[in-house]
Amino acid sequence: MSAAADPAPAPDTVLATPHTEVGAPIVRITALRKSYGDHEVLKGIDLDVMRGEVVAIIGKSGSGKSTLLRCINGLEVFQEGSLIVDGKPLLHDSALAMRELRQRVGMIFQSFNLFPHLTVGRNVMLAPRLVKKRNAAENEARARKLLERVGLAEKFDAMPDQLSGGQQQRVAIARALAMDPGVMLCDEITSALDPELVGEVLRVVESLAEEGMTLLMVTHEMNFARKVADRVIFMHQGRVHESGAPDAIFGAPQTPELKQFLSSLHD
């Protein structure tokens, strides 16, 4: 739809088609609450993310940070509050609205979730072909370009299980980029990787940030968050407990919970 009508994208750089004016929040979360049965995991979250902003979400496991991320593209259903992405409200009951929204939100998973029965190239081309009805030649050219971008041009015809974890995760990034999302969600994307493979994935993410992609990432890589993020959010017991610039959060934590969390990382 929108992307197919793109006026000839500049070869390498165009990552996304903006849907809102510059300066407006691309993600707006208001008073969001979610519970599993009696257990409330998100207890009223308010969060605005600006276009081009890089937000890192940190916190203990069980603090609700992954759940929050998964709410943003509707993988989790929330009970109260509202969530607007790129001007589109999240409506769980409307399959059409959900698909509209998901075209604007890319998601990278901890466990990659590549489609094991498709080649790397087909993994990247599947959704643009089916959802955006992009024509085959254009789709393939774009897929090759994106794979080149993540450093995997020669893996176009490989199967996912022939790749290392780091390579698979980079394919997953290319696959998400192929849909021209306005915002990318990264859910602990290096947690399932061997330590020596973390760097190659983070470098790709960093380059996305440099090119102005809006990023929301749940991460355990504090050094990376400090280096790349514009803003860091510390979640604790289902709430945004503290947030601010990386230097403030890591350099001068205000609340005892954040202090304790940060010091526990150095053990």
């Binding site: 399959a95 075209q103 029965h117 599947l126 849909m179």
Partner: protein
């Protein structure tokens, strides 16, 4: 009194075995088609369909196939439709197969990691696209060995159609045993013919299964 040679017995049994094969094929294909519909319906998130199909599976797996045959034989007659043993056997075995196949396939679909559903819905694929391009192609690979294996169960199941008077291999065996007074020989031959039908399929299913496990590492 005619004397039956061994070849006479085997020849007549083999002729009757055609009906075993035909009945098996009809039940397997019919059951497969019905099973596919029963598989997809509850995946759409329709709770009523899910419960109804769960009950359907439970009833067909929790009652004797012989009773199912009797019920269809006498049940169709209740509607004033003239039932032959042939129709009743086809109907009963088709329903029976559909319940088992849908259950087998449901397990295969459930074995596809949740992440595959999540990744494909994150990419804005519709439910039908998720199913057709991501889930079913993967489930199909896992489903082939147990599906082939179930064919053996269908073939063996057709033997019960003899009880409602359908002349297939087992019924023919009974008839021949009665006229030859050689029940041991005749039922031995019947068993061997079933074995010749089923064993290659079992072996094939087994080798598919092993290949799949090797492929999965």
């Amino acid at each position: 009194m005619v004397d039956f040679t061994l070849w006479d017995i085997v020849r007549n049994l083999l002729l009757a075995a055609r009906w075993t094969v035909i009945l098996s094929v009809i039940a397997f294909i019919g059951g497969g088609l019905a099973g596919l519909i029963l598989l997809v319906l509850p995946l759409t998130g329709n709770r009523v369909a899910e419960l109804a199909i769960g009950g359907y599976v439970q009833v067909f797996q929790g009652t004797p196939l012989l009773m199912q045959l009797f019920l269809l034989y006498f049940g169709i007659a209740l509607f004033g439709v003239d039932t032959s043993a042939w129709t009743a056997a086809c109907a009963a075995l088709t329903l029976y197969s559909s319940a088992y196949l849908t259950e087998i396939w449901r397990g295969c679909v459930a074995s596809i990691p949740r992440g595959q559903w999540e990744a494909s819905s994150s990419l804005a694929l519709s439910f039908g696209q998720q199913l057709g391009h991501v889930i079913l192609p993967q489930a199909l690979k896992v489903a082939v060995p147990p599906t082939v294996g179930f064919l053996v169960q269908v073939i063996k199941g057709t033997a019960l159609a003899s009880v409602i008077g359908f002349v297939e291999l087992t019924k023919a065996g009974g008839m021949i045993a009665n006229v030859t007074y050689q029940p041991m020989l005749v039922y031995g031959c019947v068993a061997l013919i079933y074995f010749a039908l089923c064993f290659p399929i079992s072996l094939y299913a087994g080798s598919l299964e092993r290949k799949l496990n090797v492929g999965r590492r």
